[in-house]
């Protein structure tokens, strides 16, 4: 390539070619689906979460680009055994960092190269915003249980 393409770094390509959690069948108790209006890509994220709210299993499926798939793979790698509440903070961190100044760290480093390509940001963010829908479902469930207890 004449220009260096910061998006397709080696680590990101590894996730693209050998994605973590892709097409895995899990005993999911939460599921969310979303699509990228720009290109029509779809992703479905599934989570199996225990009573403490910890993610025991997480997987994704769908027809998407390398950026979206690698981002989803990183998500599955990073969030296992983490509570959905903590995942919410990670989602916020990734969304705000990719849209503003600053760099992501640790397992998220391969996503830093996408910052220079604003149109592709939505590809990288799609898995995370879809997981965000699951976090909202979880929060609603907790609130419902709490209000049931009050009424009870």
């Amino acid at each position: 390539m004449n220009k260096s393409n910061t998006m397709y770094q080696r680590e990101l390509l590894k996730h693209h070619q050998f994605p973590v959690g892709f097409n895995q069948t899990i005993n999911a108790n939460f599921q969310a689906f979303d699509e990228n209006a720009f290109c029509g890509d779809e992703i479905s994220v599934e989570v199996n979460c225990n009573k403490k709210g910890e993610i025991e299993q997480i997987s994704f499926k769908g027809d998407s680009c390398a950026i979206c798939r690698a981002s989803a793979s990183i998500m599955c790698q990073l969030l296992k055994n983490i509570t959905l509440t903590s995942a919410d903070s990670t989602i916020l961190n990734i969304t705000s960092t990719l849209k503003a100044k600053g760099d992501l760290h640790g397992d998220l480093i391969p996503l830093n190269g996408i910052k220079q390509y604003p149109v592709r940001l939505q590809c990288a963010l799609l898995p995370w915003t879809t997981l965000g829908n699951i976090v909202q479902q979880y929060k609603c469930q907790i609130e419902e249980v709490a209000s049931c207890k009050k009424i009870g």
Partner: protein, 410 residues
Amino acid sequence: MKIISAWKKDFPLFSSTAHQDLHYFDSAATCLVPKIVAECSYHYLTQEHANSHRGIYQLSNNATVKVEQTREKIKDFIKAHYPKEIIFCSGTTEAINIIAKGFIKPKINANHNIIISQAEHHANFLPWQMLCQQTGAELRVIRLNKNHVIDIDHLSSSIDTNTLLIAVNHISNVLGTTNPVKEICNIAKKNNVPVLIDGAQAIGHYDINVSDIGCDFYAFSGHKMYAGNSCGILYINKSHHDSFIPVTLGGGIVDKVTNEETRYVKSIQKLEAGTLNTGGIMCLSAAISYLNNIDKKEIKQYLNQVSTYLLNQLSQLSFIKLISPNDETASIIAFMMNGVHSHDVASILDSNNIAVRVGHHCAQPLHQYLGIKNSIRVSLGIYSQQEDIDELVSTLVSCHEMLSTDIFHE
């Protein structure tokens, strides 16, 4: 012998420091601008800028004269009968919306139907879908034949006494296929149905003759014929002028306004409310002069040569699946790469200064019809040449090696 464009030197972008290595394959979205048009724009803004059709001072008067000379020039360019059949607007999208709101909306009801094709750009799809949804009228979408052009038998059998309009593209903005618009107009005439042709993709490549085609309306944009961000044109056959109501209300379209009522001008200048984009109109005039200085047959022959080379090269790549038919006269070719998402292909191509378009190209119903979500579109301009295609093909090979994975479509 290599295929080299005789006109590439006319386009300053290729000699700019930032983009001298650019391989531009997105002329279907917008054409690059020749120096003569850019100079015209600068000259207008620095020496001639004025509000046309309003002032009686010399500067404004000169602008008015030039706008009307351009109207005459466009009439000649598309072989219309009268300059008053030409109206200026912002682009093809606005032109089609003018037909929808100014001509069809006043008369449509639940008994009517409107005919379009499966391969329309959203600009020639959404106005008709919305009108039909609002009124209960039927939107009849004509399928494509095996060559991806409008199925004439299906179109003929879809017309009835309640058909208000046939609105179809001249050249598909995705497939590059040319529809038999003259034949469609003949069929429509026998049934007394007016025809609107979306000429956005044809205007830069074909010698357009609206009188020979026999259409009632023809819409196109200046920026797809090397005129930069200029203006759009809507041709309206004289026989329909009285049937229009103004769409946008404002200055320049009335005979008299009182507190109680308004009397609009009778001509279709009632569709040109507000200040005209005089600078854009000047640029369109310059682009027409530029194209008029080139033999249209020469352009067509050259683009066919480039297109043939492109199709030959692409057909040698086993991982490329052509969406467009193998038509050597098409300047637009859509394809997909096996195992690699179209957006990734475009990003990798961009790394080598190759500009293509990916996505649904504002034609989602067509992509649904073809059973795909997106495609890679390569579109040619008179500056395209063999070295651009060679660079494209070698980068497609690298891209496939780098990103192909068989888990892509499980």
